[in-house]
Symmetry: D3
Subunit: 271 residues, 6 copies
């Protein structure tokens, strides 16, 4: 992203155009959804406006209305353009990696892992602005609505897939690189009641399978794979597969960036 | 179900009659719930009408109203009579297997695993009608509301208990036989980013304990038991108990259909 | 708590006063939340009134309105003063043990584990009054809203931290002592379909890490620690660390009450 | 309506077909309404289904949900086919007489006088079934939502225009013929606190201008016109214009059925 | 009301007991309303609790929730016992004078004139406490919800019937005595843009018929009757009937307190 | 408005600054409203943002959400700057003419005549853009919510007071000048079922008292006064008072612009 000669506009926004085209097809095919799809997608000029509308409806509550929530989301998208870029990378990541998803519009409309992640991006922006209270409010809404608890201070890259999503927990000082895939019930947790740097650092391209718990300020090297149900308490070298309770090195992933393959099997990784 | 001489009608629908009787008793005992119980149960002539009312209220959202959702549920129940039969089998399964549940009305009214399963049945019907978009919309609602993520293309039999339910994930090409019991956080997951047949096939009478992850296109034979927290990556023979990360055969279940006993202990299964 | 010379009143309620002071500061800092914070905290004279207001909004539904839910919560708080005391112990527990939380107001306002626990306390009171139906209704609301499934008959002490909370399950005959810390996805489950005493008994000061499953009528001794992802099927002696699938004794916790330290690492506990 | 060789079906229902065609044009022109118009019109097979959906949304309340209200409306439409016919006559009446309305869909979607009238028709059916309580509930909803208070026992014909509608009051023993036009703030009121027949009887084709009060068991003959702001305390002969406080005969309407002309002027009627 | 030996309690509250008995009968007869009637009437121990519940639901809005509104209503009822007494007088007044109403429960549940009046009583209490802002908020809610605009500073006695109610306006310095009947669209208006005492003073037992406008600081003597549609700009002596635009004395009412007879005819009053 | 040297900005917007100052005082005085006042006023940078927020909440419905309504209002305010200027003139008009209103914030927050008028301004802008369908949708919402029915094609100036507002009707081809005061139940109605120019033309500074009906394409000259309850069927010369049914000239108003005095008395106008 060093050079950036062309800003995103509705005219050259290929993902947004695909989403609109797919949505129009869906309306023609499924009249019951026409109402929802018009108000959520076709009524809006940009992906950003559609996203603020959709997330605000998801996070609506009796005490803080969708109208207020939407204002905050729009402020975040307007003042930090990296959020909108990450949104597009995340959409592309889901479409490319999730074999059950062949459309750009599907994660945008229907995947709660995607919704939780984008709402976290807003909360993270709030946190960096020194607006911790509102960031915590968002964290609570995200956890209640989607079952995903990401501390707003955590740092997460782009091109992220959070699949199925229920039960994911990411702690305050965790970092997650780019192009990472996290399955449901994955924990990037801390240890100890003292503050300070106490959560995992996950490199680029890592695949963390369902239910894996990674605890403490440890490093998961780029291109590593963590098997389902593992409990990881020590550093994992790059391009290494670990599994078990507690997790042990069992081999190497079959590719450089296992997050992109989504191969959760570990047998063929064994030496 | 080969012969079916008598269709279900309100007059001979023993489960619906029990639910009504139990509900009337509950109203007399607990006035705070009278309002809820009247509108949800007693106002309706049939179990189907009550179910469409109750689920529609559960799946209500700012963008697709309960009125619209209910129309879809009623269409499904009217055009595929096997759904209504499966509903009754599922109610009976919960009452018989869940030691904390002694009434037919309790799963119907209060168990989110039951609600998620019936909403999936509607989504599955939609998927089979070629209405994938609306099926995905239902999948998202079910996942957000109940924390249960079942792909609408998955095939699930009758007499199913999904207990506690939070975190259950069932993938696109998974199949689940009849009279199966699944605890919370169970995953029937895929592996790999390619499409095609990539999820588990679970036989009849299987018991899968809390947090077990079963990954890939493998077979879990009829009457098998999968221990809590296991990660299963290989076929499991019928009438066999497996446990551990990764799961290994440790013995045989104490009964032919462990799903009916709900005995999650594995010590006595060991050889 | 044998002698209790001074009843809690708004004037001597240090936690409630702290919550009010913190909230006033938050309003000054974050106008978007002013509306929410005024209606939830500053409008109320007592912690009890604020709690009934906040929980009622969380548990609002199309079928049983917040107005009705609040009446029940107020009845419970008025007739059983131990609930209000436990609420304050729980708030203090979160602030002291959760390194991401430095304010009394934060768990009260934003932590769904705290909300689920207090709503359970109301359900438990209902159960003890013989109002099982309404208790089950609350259980369902708590499970759907927070992803936490606690049977209303379970017995839980004070000073409890349920961190992150998604996926926690606590069964009908389980008991949990005082000053216990439970992470997300912890199960205190039963085994078998017969009724009777079939769930774990957890002592004081125990720490149960993320995703641990404890199954059956077994004892977890005071001051024990259960490692993340463990599956515990046998008694655990007091002041002992167990881990693994199935869990084995691996050493002793580094302190008398590991729940207070929140040290989830198990390496340094090893003998 | 003596002979009725052809029942209304979606295929031969010219008004419903016009409404659908007009609505499709409106969606193409105004995307903001697409969502509303799809869910209210295009999602439905028949005018009756669309009407029950639209009215139920209008009469939704925190205590009796749209789901319940819609069931009642559907029961009424299903069991009394004259309602559906009157609905169509009323739509045609508005389109023909209201110079600000050139589409069939406009009164159906947007005119509260039309909505109040159709909701009254449901309440009247309830009253005739002996379900007075629910009829009174509907009366209250109609009065609160639309500012139109029609007692459910009143008898009202077809081809009725209630224009602007706010403040209209029609009492228990009033009758209104066919093809009548009533402007806003018109009262057909009783007098005295005794029961019995005490409200006006209005003939066919009558025009009652804005704010006119007609009080007591008096007859307004067919084809009469009542001037705006009049207070009528005595019988009015057929084909006669009255005006003033109290109202006096001032001449004759310029046509046989003044309701169809909507000429509120009275100067040219003067002798 | 000089002596008051017996305070109202649920046990000796004849009106509340009648309302409960009538409601139980309605539930048995009309299951669709069972839900509404339970939550609104049978769930409550006292008329006051039922009233605060019912009004709070009526005045619910996206910006000030029913929970908050109810707290205010309960404060008013608890601190000024004359409100609760006036409520009962008003209920009795409706039942005795409205020939379309034969039950105590009907005005309580379904008459918006009654609802508007009781909500005004709360606003008036707020105004007298110096809480003008909240009083104006209530005035706005009442006007929007019921179409009745009563300034909270106006003084209104007990035993009041506001029939049909749409369009009633009562200004800031107006006073209304006891046992008065006001029909819909009645105005007690001021004149001039200066403050000070500028609205009508209405004596006891007065009947003001539909649409009458009474303007300025004039007196309507006790037992007077004002004909429908009249515009009154001058004092009206006690026990006198006036009518017309502008209103003139036309005779005497047929009884001492015409409000109790509800005879809106004026012919027989003429001299 | 020929020259316009200084655009309105938050810094030089005296009315908006007064509203904010008054609101802050109200919050300090009345905590129950703090929540509402923060979200409606203090959270916003400009009067326009506050207005779009407040009106959107007022016009929220199950079928078209506040989020969508607000987008339309913001578009109107952004593309036609005369609306925002008229809004300020209207606020000033209410404060200066309504003796019960001494604050700028009160009409903005609490007067439904003001809310209806501003929502009409948005509908009028839509109509002029050729978006008749959405304009009619707004008209219906305004009529249902506020009891005020203004056709979106009507032309209305600035500095308008619509007091109490219930029952006001203004037809398609009506025009209303600047600085006009209309009381509740005023009708500017048409006559005849043919299209074309058929509604009144009201000059500047006119006062129309409660319940007056003005019918047909007639002129009400500048500075005229129409007495309460009048029915006007002929032109009224400038600076003339008319009253009665039908209305006749009775004298001259006591001032040049009777709308500013709000003197509804007509006695002193008589010759």
């Amino acid at each position: 992203m060093a050079t950036q000669p062309i800003a995103i506009s509705p005219e050259n926004d290929a993902i947004w155009q695909s989403i609109q085209t797919e949505t129009q097809a869906a309306i023609n095919k499924e009249p019951v959804l026409a109402s929802f799809l018009h108000s959520t997608i076709l009524n809006h000029k940009t992906l950003e406006r559609a996203l603020s509308f959709h997330l605000a409806n998801k996070l609506d509550s009796p005490t803080v209305s969708a109208l207020l929530v939407r204002e905050v989301i729009e402020d975040a998208l307007a003042s930090d353009s990296t959020i909108a870029k990450a949104v597009r990378c995340d959409i592309r990541a889901v479409k490319e990696r999730d074999s059950a998803c062949s459309l750009y519009s599907v994660p945008f409309l229907y995947f709660k892992g995607f919704h939780a992640l984008q709402a976290y991006r807003v909360a993270h922006w709030l946190w960096n602005q020194g607006r911790e209270d509102l960031a915590l409010f968002f964290q609570n809404c995200i956890s209640t609505e989607f079952g995903v608890d990401i501390h707003p201070a955590a740092k997460i890259g782009h091109g992220i897939l959070i699949d199925h999503a229920t039960g994911v927990v990411i702690g305050e000082t965790a970092t997650v690189g780019n192009n990472v895939s996290l399955m449901h019930s994955v924990t990037l947790g801390g240890t100890g009641k003292e503050g300070g740097d106490r959560h995992p650092k996950v490199g680029d391209g890592v695949l963390i399978s369902a239910g894996a718990k990674i605890l403490g300020n440890i490093r998961i090297g780029s291109g590593a794979k963590v098997g389902s149900g593992s409990v990881v308490l020590q550093d994992v070298p790059a391009h290494t597969t670990v599994a078990g309770v507690p997790a042990k090195v069992i081999g190497k992933p079959g590719s450089d960036q296992p997050a992109l393959d989504m191969n959760h099997g570990i047998n063929c990784d064994m030496g």
